[in-house]
């Protein structure tokens, strides 16, 4: 394997997919964030925690610009990070993935990772806009969210490995096994402890946009890494000669 080339195409793929994710978010999620943060501000004024003064709005505009400008940058960083994991898994599983070219193989893997590491955790712990969430519970919620993703991801790998020991029904074993396993985990894991205080319609619309944004990342990473892999073949063997 060409190590340097492999690392480079994985990181570039992740960064591009992350940039697309950030751009999609900027277009479809930001308007909801602005609306919900507007409600948050009204709540602050109503509770007396803040006063509706020009100074407040100057400070508010300052940090909202900082937050919005970070959307793209954070997209690239997160994309590079998740892309690195995707690259590792793709390199290790490529020979087992269905498809007659690397784009199809990468899209199959992206679909599996999207479903097990995003969709299933999202059903249990969906994205929430800024007004939802008690700062006191953020550590607990982070642990629950990360744990569920980790359990789900390792669950798939475990049942895939287990299925290789079976002569027959190799495809059914991981699907049924993972389905039962993750269903149990889904009901055993604690619920998000925070109440939803924002209007539920807005929260649901925000969640749909969030879902579309993350989905755009997984489609992009599959297409881009698959294309680069087809083009540069980092897996082609390197030969060392000894005299």
């Amino acid at each position: 394997m060409k190590t340097f080339l492999f690392i480079v195409i994985v990181l570039i793929s992740g960064a591009f997919a992350g940039l697309i994710h950030g751009t999609v978010n900027f277009a479809i999620v930001e308007p909801y964030l602005d609306q919900v943060i507007g409600i948050e501000n009204q709540n602050l004024f109503a509770s007396g925690e803040e006063k509706d003064t020009p100074e407040f709005w100057v400070e508010y505009e300052g940090y909202r610009i900082w937050q919005k400008s970070g959307q793209m940058l954070a997209g690239v960083i997160l994309g590079t990070s998740i892309g690195a994991l995707f690259g590792i898994v793709f390199a290790l599983s490529r020979n087992s993935l269905p498809g007659n070219n690397d784009v199809k193989k990468a899209l199959v893997l992206a679909g599996i990772m999207w479903f097990t590491m995003f969709v299933i955790p999202f059903l249990k712990y969906p994205a929430n806009p800024p007004t939802v969430g008690d700062p006191e519970t953020v550590v607990l919620r982070s642990i629950l969210y990360l744990s569920f993703i980790t359990i789900s991801g390792f669950g798939v790998v475990g049942f895939y490995k287990l299925s290789q020991k079976f002569q027959n029904k190799r495809k059914l074993v991981p699907i049924i096994g993972y389905g039962i396993f993750i269903s149990v985990v889904f009901f055993v894991m604690p619920e998000n402890p925070d109440e939803i205080t924002a209007p539920i319609d807005w929260v649901n619309e925000f969640r749909i946009m969030s879902f579309l944004g993350v989905t755009s990342f997984w489609v992009s990473i599959g297409v881009i890494l698959g294309f680069f892999w087809n083009r540069f073949s980092p897996n082609k063997e390197t030969t060392q000669s000894y005299n």
Binding site: M1, T3, F6, I7, V10, L11, H21, G22, N25, V29, E30, L33, W66, Q67, K68, S69, G70, Q71, L73, A74, G75, I77, L78, T80, S81, I82, A84, L85, G87, I88, A91, L92, F118, P121, F122, Y125, P126, A127, N128, P129, P130, G133, P135, V138, R141, S142, Y145, L146, M209, S210, G213, V214, N235, E237, T238, T239, Q240, S241, Y242, N243
Partner: protein
């Protein structure tokens, strides 16, 4: 008369170095965007970093949009 033998060793496996490098990038990036609450800058600025939350605010919108618990 001397004889030269050539042995070719083919390497087709996944580079362990690449896996280590990518795993570090994965963990660092995920922490930075998803979970930092001032921890990284606290290495330089101390406790003040937990008040300023520069990285938290910079990644705030992506954190919410990507489904991470934020605050």
């Amino acid at each position: 008369m001397s004889e030269t033998r050539q042995i070719n060793v083919s390497k087709t496996g996944v580079s362990k170095l690449a896996i280590v490098v990518l795993a570090i990038i994965f963990a660092a990036g995920l922490f930075l965007v998803g979970f930092d609450q001032g921890h990284i800058f606290s290495l330089v600025y101390g406790e003040q970093a937990f008040e300023d939350l520069y990285i938290h605010e910079l990644t705030h919108d992506m954190r919410h949009a990507a489904g991470f618990p934020c605050h």
